[in-house]
Amino acid sequence: MTVLQSRRPRKNLLLSFVAIVLSVIVFLVPFAFVLLTAIKDQQQASLLDFSWPHQFRLVQNFIDVVQARDYMLIIAFINSTILTVASVTLMVVFGAMVAFVLQRRKSRWNGLVNALVLAGLIIPPAVVPTIWVLQKIGLFRTMPGLILVEVAFGLAFVILLFRAFIGTIPRELDEAAIIDGAGPMRLFFRVILPLLKPVIITSVVVQSVFVFNDFTNPLYFLPGDQNATVQLTLYNFSSQYSTQYNLLFMNILLITIPPLIMYLFFNRQIVAGMTAGAIKG
């Protein structure tokens, strides 16, 4: 055993120890604080200190948060799920289509499309004019309106990721498929798209997390309690629960769970895909 280990590079134990201690203080303590406060009773939570709960009210606090304001949190979870699934699906399909043609075909459009993609990454969206446009086409304060807004703002990033990845797929594949008589739709959806699995996973995860956690766009484009998304419940509760920190933190805890699950499932793929896209892009 010892002989085997000594052949490999030695691990730096002191450095490891320091790193672990620091990571616990900097990153884990805040999460532990959220967790502990979420299961305290109201009085103890209002002290805002880092202490062991006198009483475990995990279930009761959970029920209280869910029931608050006519089950607003449930409505918000439904809304956020619809928003995330729909906008990410559209974003990925449409973005991949653009990236595919952009990467494969040299035409006079390329310069313009590339410039627009770059613009989409850099330019801050003009908020009130966007509301004006949405009003004109009757989509302001509607879920489809917000979905399309998320798609519009997220496309550029997705296109960039896909373009870099499609570049690594050999053109011979396309040619073989075309000789077999495949049209553009079949070529794209049945030959290319399946090969994009790694980058699809990456963009789905990254954009889902982004849309699910988005606060600004729902705030501007989908106001109103009935339309609340999970981030807005947090924002609304923070004024309503100014004395009920246990419920506020229970809410924070609950809306952190979906991204956490996403992450646990796709941890490796995100890292792989992100790096491929980010470095090349």
Partner: protein, 438 residues
């Protein structure tokens, strides 16, 4: 691979179908039934006491009018709420009836364009003139009162005052002399709670009765861009008071992060002696600090002239009908407004929440069991020693006053700079409203 692709297509199709409607509210019934029954939506802000009153009114009204049901919806309070009300009105998608501020905020929602004018059918004759002027545009009345009048004044802890042998101050100098003694006894003289920025404005807004005592024409001149906060000594005084209190370290130590509930608790427990705030917060004060109803008194913010020290009063919010409400719903909505503007309506509101000021409807009384501070307030009003706040006498009100007051009250900027800054801020609002002279 093929399976995957189809799964994605299905997912897309499914999500598109779902998005046809967003979740809305769970288990809500249909909007309008066919059999002569009408259902009204009623938008109120989401403060706990407001929601209680809204639900009680809805319940009591339906008990009298079984064919009309009312569903209370909520919106955020404060500037988020202003924004929401404006956009819902402009997109023609307002609830059937809604509650919103009177005064300058009422003027900013373009009442003549967006609201249904009221008449005798809604008892407007029996409403207090001080209220109706704040919901009037072009000599038409648009709203009925929600709740009672409230004061922007100083709530004080009577125990602290009697222990130190202090009397209620009439002038700012007396007030500051009291504060020196309070400070010496180890109690915080003035409570401030900038964790909720709106609470910072009372020394300025609540001082307006004193401004008006010094210059009865101030509001009109102000609207016409002829009087300014920075150049009118009586108006500037509010900002100076704020600065003095900070300079002399009379604030509670955590003034920068304390929130309203903290501040009310300090006052009730006698950790702080004076809290300049709206009297409407009394209901929260009492419900969160049982036993404090007779320990807390109220006096007008003191000015320079003790003989003309008046109380600044806020008119109640209004309940309005948007022009998008038509047909049977409009009739029902008018009935509902008539109910709110009747003694029955007041009784219903009193049932839901402790009144914190006199009602604006003739024949309504708040009863005898009101807290001490409300009695103090009533005394000012009965003696004719009160006047409305500036936002009810002029449509001009800047949106950044709360941040400016926080700056002056935390020593980030001085009183003159703050007043000047506010004059600039106000200009934007006046121009936006298209007032002449700006």
């Amino acid at each position: 691979m093929r399976k995957r692709h189809i799964a994605i297509a299905l997912l897309a199709a499914g999500s598109m179908a779902l998005t046809a409607c967003s979740a809305g509210s769970l288990g809500s019934s249909d909007d309008s039934g066919g059999d002569g029954k009408v259902s009204l939506s009623f938008l109120v802000d989401n403060a706990a006491e407001t929601v209680k009153i809204g639900n009680q009114l809805a319940k009591d009204f339906t008990a009298k009018n079984p064919n009309i049901t009312i569903k209370v919806e909520t919106r955020p309070a404060g500037t988020d709420g202003d924004n929401l009300v404006k956009t819902r009105l402009s997109t023609g998608d307002m609830s059937d009836v809604f509650m919103y501020n009177s005064g300058s905020l009422f003027q900013a929602i373009a009442p003549e364009k967006n609201l249904v004018p009221l008449d005798e059918g809604q008892n407007i004759g029996s409403l207090d003139k001080n209220f109706t002027t704040t919901v009037t545009a072009n000599s038409k009345v648009y709203g009925v009162p929600w709740g009672g009048f409230m004061a922007g004044a100083i709530l004080y802890n009577k125990d602290v005052y009697s222990k130190l042998g202090l009397s209620v101050p009439k002038t700012w100098d007396e007030f500051m002399a009291n504060n020196a003694k309070i400070k010496a006894s180890g109690v915080d003289p003035v409570i401030q709670s900038y964790g909720e920025t709106w609470t910072s404005q009372l020394f300025v807004l609540g001082d307006f009765a004193n401004v008006l005592s010094a210059d009865p024409q101030f509001a009109d001149k102000y609207t016409a861009n002829q009087a300014k906060y920075a150049t009118t000594p009586a108006a500037l005084a509010g900002f100076q008071h704020l600065q003095q209190v900070h300079d002399l370290k009379y604030e509670n130590k955590d003034f920068a992060s304390a929130k309203l509930p903290d501040a009310l608790r300090y006052l009730a427990q006698g950790k702080g002696a004076n809290y300049p705030i709206l009297s409407a917060t009394l209901s929260e004060l009492i419900s969160e600090n049982p036993g404090s109803e007779n320990k807390i008194g109220l006096f007008a913010i003191p000015g320079s002239d003790g003989s003309k020290n008046n109380l600044t009063v806020w008119a109640p919010a209004g309940v309005y009908i948007p022009t998008t409400t038509t047909g049977a719903k409009l009739d029902a909505a008018k009935k509902f407004l008539a109910y709110i503007a009747s003694p029955d309506g007041c009784t219903s509101q009193t049932t839901a929440s402790q009144p914190t000021g006199p009602y604006a409807v003739k024949g309504c009384s708040v009863g005898d069991s009101v807290p001490q501070a409300v009695k103090d307030m009533q005394t000012y009003i009965d003696n004719g020693a009160s006047s409305l706040a500036l936002e009810f006498l002029s449509p001009v009100k800047g949106p950044a006053l709360e941040q400016i007051c926080v700056e002056v009250g935390s020593g980030i900027s001085k009183a003159d700079a703050g007043a000047k800054h506010y004059d600039e801020d106000v200009k934007k609002q006046a121009q936006q409203l298209g007032l002449s002279g700006w």
